[in-house]
């Protein structure tokens, strides 16, 4: 059937206010994750299209640098919670206009919270919505929402925007490519020894200084210097130490002792100039004299003299020490202080200036030019994305159009199969691209089939409901009754069960293994020790293993007896319904039941690691510090366009080049016209 036109026009178009809005649109519940530049536009445009039930989630508070594009916020709102102010403004705009249609009253909610918190934002939370829109600025949260939408079986519209470039990508779980089907470009990485010992570019000093901030003022629990980037500088402020004494101790450790230690390694300096320590005895009095005069702010674009940087370092440290001493008692959500540390934030003047000053002083010791200005340091350390209101609005408009298509088509009987064919991924370009004959500023692409080895969507996702108390059932029982009995995993298979928790940043299996069951018994002491642990875990109750409502377990089952050997991977979400009728003497087969989802399919055992194995530990830790701006646009934006190269921007879009193999095997989701 011809699908050139999806019927999105109101039934009577002459009077739009009274037009018969599609009932599916009025009823649909939409979750918007992120109430920033794109998020506030998405929310506004959804309401403008007739959507009435909207929930916004955001962790942030309003910053002055948001005001150039986040139109729901005013100067007086700086410091307030984004999601709440946004919801309030939207209600004020829409409430009177929608009062008449009382059968579908306006519901706009703002939830202040972190989507990484999967105990609060669990599978059931996502199940309440018909569509989810991501308006986020970091890969980690995008992965989380993508995973939750897959587990909850809810469609997701992913968005990204930087400068004049943007992208919109709808995801229909298991039917089309998800956010993780395409490996993301890894964050730019630097060799540890370059950062640690032999920096020769300004950016190396900034990376070092950013780690230094983490080690000095970051959360105590965080393992900031696991790579040994800072060698043995142990310089957290001590209790009752005077700030000024501390500054001097710190400067001496960083720019005299450490530099001398590096300098003494002669091998490093063959063929290049050895670093020189700062002559602190001479410089410190000068810096002290400058303390009342230096411009203490981050937006100055010019370079400062060395003495001024010393003074800025001094002032920033004073401020941070004062704030740090307050963190053990109170948590301040507006500044990210708490848990005995201060979170680095590019908009936090103290934090930024400390990093800028530390980087500049180091650059001086290592004879590195040009020295970065505070403005530049902010760009590097804060991973700043160029953001313009106009592009956010384009991206949001496109995202809402996809939401609208999805909601309307899904409500039409028999049209559900058309949905994957009607939706589009769209690239927003700065320079029209395409062939000489067809130049496009907005480039749509058909949705691709999921990657057959995607770490997120190629595995089964199933939610099971428990009819038994978590304290009364052991892990061993669960394996027998639920996994083997209900979900059909063979008892003789090799099994591995691990927990996916909100602290587990990687969302990858194998971090916190709970249980393993091997078909063949290996000998050796280590295995025996492990075996013993598995036996003990199997005997523990789920409650004792801290598994409860919303817990997610990653299960791998390998059948080596099959020819060829197969494997089955699934993510199982455990649910305890609030109105559960816990059975008095239940028969074992009735203890669990599938709430929704599917257990996945068996496939030939992969000998090598899956595609998701990229991004080692080092890369993960550096994320948000050295990753490129491209990371923030959701997938692979047209790279050539970003370079501003007008010629190469005319190349055809990166259509299908990413997972050609997948298409060959599964075919593109495509319905002929």
């Amino acid at each position: 059937m011809a699908t050139e036109f999806v019927d999105l026009l109101p039934a009577t178009s002459s009077a739009p206010a009274d037009h018969a809005l599609h009932p599916a649109v009025l009823r649909a519940r939409v979750l918007v994750v992120g109430a920033g530049g794109v998020g506030s536009e998405v929310a506004k445009t959804l309401l403008g299209c007739g959507f009435r039930r909207l929930t916004l989630v955001d962790l942030d508070t309003i910053d002055r640098s948001n005001l150039n594009r986040q139109f729901l916020f005013r100067r007086a709102d700086v410091g307030e919670r984004k999601c709440q102010v946004a919801a309030q403004r939207l209600r004020e705009w829409m409430a009177p206009a929608t009062a008449a249609t009382s059968e579908c009253p306006l519901e706009v909610d703002g939830l202040h919270g972190n989507v990484m918190d999967s105990a609060r934002f669990d599978v059931l939370f996502y199940r309440q919505f018909d569509v989810v829109v991501n308006a986020l600025d970091n890969a980690e949260a995008r992965r989380q929402v993508n995973g939750m939408c897959l587990a909850a079986d809810r469609p997701l519209v992913e968005t990204g925007s930087t400068g004049y470039l943007g992208q919109v990508m709808p995801v229909l779980p298991f039917r089309t490519e998800c956010y993780e089907c395409t490996p993301k470009p890894p964050p730019r990485q630097y060799a540890v020894c370059t950062i640690r010992s032999t920096p020769d570019r300004p950016v190396h000093c900034v990376v070092w200084a950013r780690h230094l901030f983490q080690a000095l003022f970051g959360k105590v629990s965080s393992d900031a210097d696991a790579d040994g980037l800072l060698s043995d500088v142990d310089c957290r402020p001590e209790a009752n130490e005077l700030a000024d004494t501390y500054v001097q101790r710190l400067l001496h450790a960083l720019y005299v002792r450490d530099v001398e230690a590096q300098r003494s390694m002669e091998d490093l300096w063959r063929g290049r100039r050895a670093p020189e320590p700062l002559p602190l005895a001479e410089l410190l009095p000068q810096a002290e004299a400058r303390l009342p005069h230096v411009p203490y702010r981050a937006n100055v674009q010019e370079a400062w003299p060395l003495v001024d940087w010393l003074a800025v370092f001094w002032l920033a440290t004073r401020q941070l020490v004062r704030r740090l001493s307050g963190t053990s008692t109170t948590a301040n959500t507006t500044t990210g202080d708490g848990d005995g540390g201060i979170a680095f934030d590019k908009d936090d003047t103290d934090a930024l200036l400390l990093v800028a000053a530390a980087a500049n002083l180091r650059a001086h010791c290592y004879h590195i030019a040009p020295l970065p200005s505070a403005f530049q340091v902010k760009g590097i350390a804060g991973n700043i994305v160029h953001a313009v209101a106009a592009t956010n609005a384009v991206v949001a408009g496109l995202a809402v159009t996809e939401v609208l298509k999805y909601v309307v088509l899904s409500s039409v009987a028999g049209a559900a199969t058309m949905v994957p064919n009607a939706l589009r991924s769209v690239f927003v370009r700065r320079v029209p691209a395409g062939t000489r004959d067809t130049r496009r500023l907005l480039q749509p692409e058909r949705l691709h089939a999921p990657h057959p080895h995607c770490p997120a969507c190629s595995i089964g996702k199933v939610a099971v409901e428990a009819l038994v108390d978590a304290a009364q059932v052991t892990l061993g029982d669960w394996v027998r009754d639920c996994l083997c009995g209900l979900l059909g995993v063979g008892r003789a298979e090799e099994l591995s069960i691990s927990v996916l928790s909100s602290e587990n940043k990687e969302h990858r299996p194998g971090i916190a293994v709970l249980y393993e069951q091997n078909a063949e018994v290996d000998d050796g002491e280590e295995e025996e020790e492990e075996e013993d642990l598995w036996r003990r875990n199997a005997a523990k109750s789920l409650a004792a293993l801290r598994l409860g409502h919303g817990s997610r377990l990653h299960v791998t089952a390998v059948d080596r007896a099959a020819d060829p050997p197969t494997e089955l991977m699934m993510e199982v979400c455990l649910l305890w319904p609030t109105t559960a009728t816990v059975q008095a003497s239940p028969s074992s087969s009735m203890l669990w039941r599938v709430a929704f989802g599917h257990a996945g399919t068996r496939r030939p055992l992969q000998m090598e690691e899956g595609v998701g194995g990229s991004g080692g530990e080092h890369g993960e830790r550096n994320e948000g510090l050295t990753s490129t701006a491209a990371d923030h646009v959701i997938a692979v934006l047209d790279d050539s366009d970003e370079e501003g190269d007008e010629e190469s921007a005319k190349e055809p879009p990166p259509k299908q080049r990413r997972i050609g193999q997948a298409h060959a095997a599964h075919g593109v989701v495509d319905i002929p016209d």
Partner: protein
């Protein structure tokens, strides 16, 4: 309050606001994210810009919202309508309580609240008097005029005035799920095609014919290379190596320079030589003339044309102006700071010399072209990043050049021109008939007239698109207004900041396919 720009000692264009330091800081923070895109110069241009927007329905409101948030200097909003119930919930800048009030006034109030730094002014009146109220003559005082969803006769009137006075024009329209944005510029100078933060163009270092001061600096500090110790030898900046390698050659060939560098190099691990060998090819193979110099000489803009002529004179006398920044390179701080200073000084002298040439140019004096210092500095800074673009004038029936189109623009996959002609044909009939069209044959007949007029009678317009155009009845849909208004804002921002090349005609948005296709409108 519009900021005015002023060149500081080192020539950097810095925003100097007529408010106190704290307010300036607040502005910098506010615009931090976009300053990194179009730079301080772009922001400064924007804050000086005056824009006229005719039409304050949803699409105009979306356009206004984006440019006001970005910090344009002034906006005049002209609109002939009062707020109707159907505006509420579609136009974000009006609400229920505003029904019955002049729409332009309500919109201006909302814009003021959004960004108090922008001055906004409403012009209201009956449709027939709207242009009169704005004052056709005053159109020449605007930096850009946008016309959103207005009657065709009004659009044409405004377009003619804009063309006459060289004022860039953006026309926006939406019909159901399709819409378009047309940009008309008789001549537009792009100062920075690559955007702020892009690398220093290598050609602007003038290394094919290095200037006296840089040669002297390199001789004093690094020559003879044999006498440097290994450490110093490995830290001679690549820029200095190239200067030394080409300085006594009148027509340096890449091969000679490469051979020299290879001969000087002590061992393969000297990073500065690796850089120099790489750069030699890139620097010396390119033509030394800025590609835009020729175009600039034929500019309609009197000041730019005068500067271009002066640059020719300067080129013959002492060479083209050099860049005042140098790229990042492998060297120590002292070398970098030294070289940077040499370039900075030379660049300042170049600008001064150029100013002298201009002053001596009698033709300029009589031509009345006033070249102010910021413009002179900006041209010198961006000599290798400038572009000049032109479009044809605005003509609706031709769909901005539809007359010159190939059948493929109508019948191809996108068929963007067919949407454009359909929208124009529909508007044309509706202006005659008033009542909503229901009969496809009327539209088809109008369409055929338009097509015949431009020798395109054989072009096939898909019947489904004709049906959809009738069904949409030119209704303004919110998501389409959001996308089209924002695309209009993007193009307006590209023009006003003079950063990046805007579209060269019409971009047609097709909401069915989520596609936006550009149809160029080349100058005659």
């Amino acid at each position: 309050m519009p900021a005015h720009c002023k060149a500081t000692r080192d020539g950097a264009l810095r925003m100097r606001l007529s408010v106190d330091e704290a307010a300036q800081r607040a502005l910098q923070e506010r615009y931090d994210r976009q300053l990194r895109l179009w730079g301080e110069r772009g922001q400064c241009q924007l804050q000086r810009a005056r824009m006229l927007v005719v039409g304050a329905s949803a699409i105009g409101a979306e356009l206004l919202k984006s440019v006001v948030l970005s910090g344009i200097g002034h906006c005049t909003v002209a609109d002939a309508a009062r707020v109707r119930p159907e505006d509420v919930g579609s136009n974000f800048l009006v609400s229920e309580a505003d029904v019955g009030l002049w729409r332009a006034e309500v919109v201006c109030e909302a814009l003021r609240e959004m960004n108090a730094a922008v001055s906004v002014e409403a012009v209201v009146g009956e449709p027939a008097q709207l242009l009169e109220r704005v004052g056709a003559a005053s159109i020449a005082t605007y930096s850009l005029v946008a016309v959103a969803r207005q009657p065709r006769s009004l659009v044409q009137q405004v377009a003619d005035v804009c063309w006459e006075h060289d004022v860039p024009l953006v026309v926006l329209q939406s019909h159901g799920l399709v819409g378009y944005v047309t940009l008309v510029v008789r001549e537009h100078i792009v100062m920075d095609v690559a955007g702020s933060g892009s690398a220093v163009p290598l050609a602007s270092l003038q290394l094919a014919r290095p200037f006296t001061e840089v040669v002297q600096f390199c001789r004093d500090h690094y020559w003879p290379l044999e006498q440097l110790d290994d450490d110093a030898h490995a830290h001679v900046p690549w820029l200095a190596l190239l200067v030394l390698a080409v300085e006594d050659e009148p027509q340096p060939s890449v091969e000679t320079v490469l051979r020299r560098l290879e001969r000087w190099r002590r061992h393969n691990s000297e990073p500065n030589f690796t850089e120099a060998l790489l750069m030699a090819k890139r620097v010396l193979r390119g033509a030394s003339d800025p590609p835009m110099l020729l175009t600039l000489e034929r500019c309609r803009s009197r000041p730019v044309e005068a500067v271009a002529r002066a640059l020719r004179t300067l080129q013959a006398k002492r060479g083209l102006p050099v860049s005042r920044a140098i790229p990042e390179m492998h060297c120590d701080t002292a070398s970098f700071v030294g070289l940077q200073e040499v370039y900075r000084q030379r660049a300042a002298e170049d600008v001064a010399a150029l100013r002298e040439v201009l002053a001596a140019d009698a033709e300029t004096a009589t031509g009345g072209a006033c070249v102010d210092d910021p413009l002179l500095q900006a041209i010198c800074d961006n000599l290798y990043n400038m572009a000049c673009m032109r479009t044809g004038p605005y003509r609706p029936e031709s769909g901005c050049g539809a007359g010159k189109r190939r059948a493929d623009d109508f019948e191809g996959e996108d068929g963007a021109a067919s949407w454009l002609v359909l929208m124009h044909a529909y508007d044309a009939i509706r202006e005659k008939h008033r009542a909503p069209l229901e009969d496809a044959t009327v539209l088809e007949a109008a369409l055929q007239r338009v097509l015949q007029q431009f020798d395109l009678a054989k072009v096939h317009i898909r019947p489904a698109r004709i049906q959809e155009t009738l069904r949409a009845a030119a209704v303004e849909l919110h998501p389409v207004a959001a996308v089209v208004g924002a695309i209009g804002a993007q193009e307006a921002l590209k023009v006003l900041t003079q950063c990046f090349v805007p579209i060269d005609g019409t971009v047609v948005y097709d909401g069915y396919a989520c596609r936006a296709t550009v149809l160029s409108n080349p100058p005659e």
